[in-house]
Amino acid sequence: RFSQKFREVVGRWLASEASTHLLVFSMERRLPPNSELVRAVLRLFQEPVPRAALRRLERLSPHSARARVTVEWLHVREDSSNRTSLVDSRLVSLHDSGWKAFDVTEAVTFWQQLSRPRQPLLLQVTVQTEHLGPPAAGAHKLVRFASQGPAGAGQGEPQLELHTLDLGAYGAQGDCDPEAPGAEAPRCCRREMYIDLQGMKWAENWVLEPPGFLAYECVGACRQPRQPLPFKWPLLGPRQCIASETASLPMIVRVEEGGRPRPQVVSLPNMRVQSCSCSWDGAPVPRKLEP
């Protein structure tokens, strides 16, 4: 309408139907010290939809008896600005009722990375109509979770389940005890391993510093939880002793520039093991909280 240079297309607002709730969980002293969070589950009790309301909706829009429930971790920054991070989302049927489980492990992992004193765990739950458009308008309102609204108390309140593992029993033991009998350490630990660069043919005349370095290695076994995890996590293998933190190795090498040799500094990543830990093979690596 305003320009001769390019075509304009007039759009139309399509009502976006959503209702949002904020859940607050006090987390202090909920996670035992020296424990690993294996999984966190948010359980919401979906109340049955009144038959009459359901029939009315089905008459208006036969295929809209579902709604999308999305759970986001909400972080209130120090400057009071907010940011959210999606952690789980799934469709629920309006014909259904009962406990619904959402995986909020990542939200708790983010919360653990906050600096102390930490705010409570804030979970923003949004319910959206699956099908946009006037006939299904308002369907999201039919999805009600117990303890929504001022009453708050009573059966079926939102629950947060925390599955943790005691690292005292299932974790690594720090550095290996050089006095320990036998070649193989019984429990996952970090063992000294010196790499002699001077003894490597390819490094001759090329690597000027260091002559060698202490790289360490992770050895030993990890104790496996006897009972299976209370949920099916695909592709999860046994707990293994791995390098959970590593450091780079600076070097001075000789390079040729214009036919003349000159020393140059270079840094090789992940060359030295800083710490070992027991970790499930195949477990997702927790996302790091960006500043």
Binding site: N205, E245, E256, P261, P263
Partner: protein, 55 residues
């Protein structure tokens, strides 16, 4: 960690496809300038104090 892995990482960092053939005589006379040594020591100190995320 093996010698091959270290060599592979070094080649990658220097964008080389193979280990350069260097004359031994040149290496002996080579002096490392102070600023290169200072850079090396600074990186060394940082790598011993930094905690990386690892695998």
């Amino acid at each position: 960690l093996s010698g091959e892995q270290i060599r592979g990482s070094l080649l990658q960092q220097l964008h080389l496809s193979q280990v350069p053939v260097l004359d031994e005589g040149d290496a002996e006379g080579l002096v490392t300038p102070a600023h290169v040594t200072a850079q090396y020591v600074a990186l060394l100190q940082r790598s011993h104090s930094a905690r990386s995320r690892g695998k």
